[in-house]
């Protein structure tokens, strides 16, 4: 099973994990990304390219499912205006064994950050805003899976 969703709606980690568990295996790993409070952040505005987002996320999930023999993968990424502390992204992977589930979850997040067409704008408490720039550490993390 591969499930990919994007939208403003929040997600429920418990029910998403149960959905993945229903597809069998003995190990589930998950990752939740939140809007981080760095001192003067008011909110994040997440833009995406709807026609491409679904295709890109599904492509990443398919690779992970094949390479780590996953029973199920769920990727949910929110868009729109998100306040400090709110959920941004959820990845849940289900496999027979712990290592595969955890590695696949990590791979999906590394790839998502460098491939999926989302852009974050930071809105500060003083009213100013700026687009987030790509980070070399994210590019390096994504590349390590090619080696």
């Amino acid at each position: 099973m591969i499930k990919v969703e994007t939208g403003l709606a929040d997600f429920d980690i418990g029910s998403e994990t149960q959905d993945v568990a229903r597809h069998g295996g003995g190990a589930i790993a998950s990752f939740v990304g939140l809007v981080r409070d760095d001192g003067n952040l008011q909110s994040l505005e997440l833009e995406h390219y709807p026609a491409m987002t679904q295709k890109a996320l599904y492509g990443i999930a398919e690779i992970a499912k094949a390479d780590w023999a996953l029973h199920a993968v769920t990727i949910i990424h929110r868009v729109g205006k998100l306040a400090v502390g709110e959920n941004i992204v959820l990845v849940v992977t289900g496999s027979d064994h712990r290592k595969a589930a955890i590695e696949a979850c990590s791979f999906i997040m590394d790839r998502l950050k460098t491939v999926a067409p989302f852009w974050k704008k930071e809105v500060r408490l003083d009213g100013t805003d700026q687009w987030v720039e790509e980070r070399q550490s994210d590019i390096d993390a994504s590349k390590q899976w090619d080696e």
């Binding site: 491409m52 295709k55 852009w119």
Partner: protein, 87 residues
């Protein structure tokens, strides 16, 4: 009959151009993304400025990543945007 392609922009590319999409008629001389970029740069100062440094931009043809050398072929949509920052 001339072909055309829809060009879509995102993030600061969209904001600085002031448009989120525009149509582009593909003349016979247009074969690659780079050919489109060269002609788009004539549409105004913002276009010329943004398109002058392709290292800061990413491209997708019909929702698959491409490079300036990518051939347009029968693609219906070209997307131009900055490096992605989701997750």
């Amino acid at each position: 009959m001339s072909r055309s392609i829809n060009i879509v922009y995102f993030s600061w590319v969209r904001e600085r151009l002031g448009v989120d999409e525009e149509q582009f008629v593909l003349g016979d001389e247009v074969r690659t993304i780079a050919d489109i970029l060269n002609l788009l740069a004539d549409r105004g100062a913002a276009h010329a400025d943004i398109l002058s440094d392709v290292s800061k931009l990413r491209f997708a043809l019909d929702q698959d990543y491409g490079t300036p050398a990518s051939v347009i072929g029968s693609a219906k949509e070209l997307a131009i945007f900055p490096p992605v920052t989701g997750g």
